[in-house]
Symmetry: C2
Subunit: 182 residues, 2 copies
């Protein structure tokens, strides 16, 4: 079974946990506290971002943080409590690029089972071509399709989303793409 | 800020954590371990399920667990590590109803920000009208639209999804619905 990280201690009382089947009929082993009986669940995380575009160009950010420092990515990050998927995508876009955008449709949903993540990208129309990169970003730049540094893209979900974007743009119709990343 | 549950102790070493801004430029307070410096993140959870249908009827499960024991729901539950959104939806359907289904399109995506969840429902064609409820389910039954116990539906996202399903069915075309639950 997939494990993101091993839970060693109870988040409620600090006692060392053991992994076993809960008594409630659950069929998966969970980290359970022998002292206060808290069951600790680990679940997939949502990564949310946008494809910001300006005429025929898309905005990419050069990463200033690991992993893949120096590689190019669409603005995206972990969805936080207290926001919707779209709000998270807009927040990440603002934080990483400083871009002003108009949020459009949900464009890709990608399961990355190997790392326990689901990635969501929205199309977003840039309303200005002035940017203000945050501390996670070395540089923000607009790329036409033939200018995209395909071998320098940080993540497979970003590459797939860019491919879908330019293909849909070519045929003049955007639709939602659902992709499972092996 | 939304908090699902307070983290009191470090999951790595058991030391009592304190909530503060991490030193990495993060703008949200996190539970941080003063001993081993582990940062503990809390993020939204995905709930995944289906709208199983048989001719003009939909399958509902009478809940045998809290919350809302005795109320009716579509089969759904928390997405687990090691599966895609659709695989989780199929698994929950099998576990709660024992129904045999053919998975169809993603039908609703609903943000329930108040509880830090995103709910996903797929349409699923029943390939048999024999069921086998799991331990979480008191009873499984098929309901035509006029038979649905609207006041006895367990969750708002289930009610919204059923409303969308019968409305789309009426007009003869199903599409993806994205809804924010206040």
């Amino acid at each position: 079974m997939f494990e993101r990280s091993t839970i060693r201690h109870c988040k409620q009382c600090g006692t060392a946990v053991s992994y076993r089947l809960p008594d409630d009929g659950d069929t998966r082993e969970r980290a359970i506290c022998p002292a206060c009986h808290t069951i600790h669940y680990e679940n997939p995380l949502n990564v949310v971002g946008t494809v910001p575009f300006w005429d025929d160009k898309v905005l990419l950010c050069k990463r200033n943080i690991e992993p893949r420092r120096g590689k190019w990515t669409l603005p995206a990050g972990f969805m936080e409590l207290g926001e919707t998927v779209a709000e998270g995508a807009a927040r990440e876009t603002h934080e990483e690029s400083g871009a002003e955008i108009e949020m459009l449709d949900l464009f890709t949903i990608m399961n990355v089972v190997r790392v326990g993540q689901v990635h969501f990208f929205y199309r977003a129309r840039l309303t200005s071509d002035r940017f203000d990169p945050g501390h996670e970003t070395l540089e923000v730049r607009l790329f036409a399709e033939h200018e995209v540094p395909w071998d320098e893209i940080a993540f497979r979900t970003v590459r797939e989303t860019l491919r879908c974007f330019f293909a849909d743009r070519q045929r003049g119709r955007f639709e939602l793409h659902q992709i499972d990343i092996a």
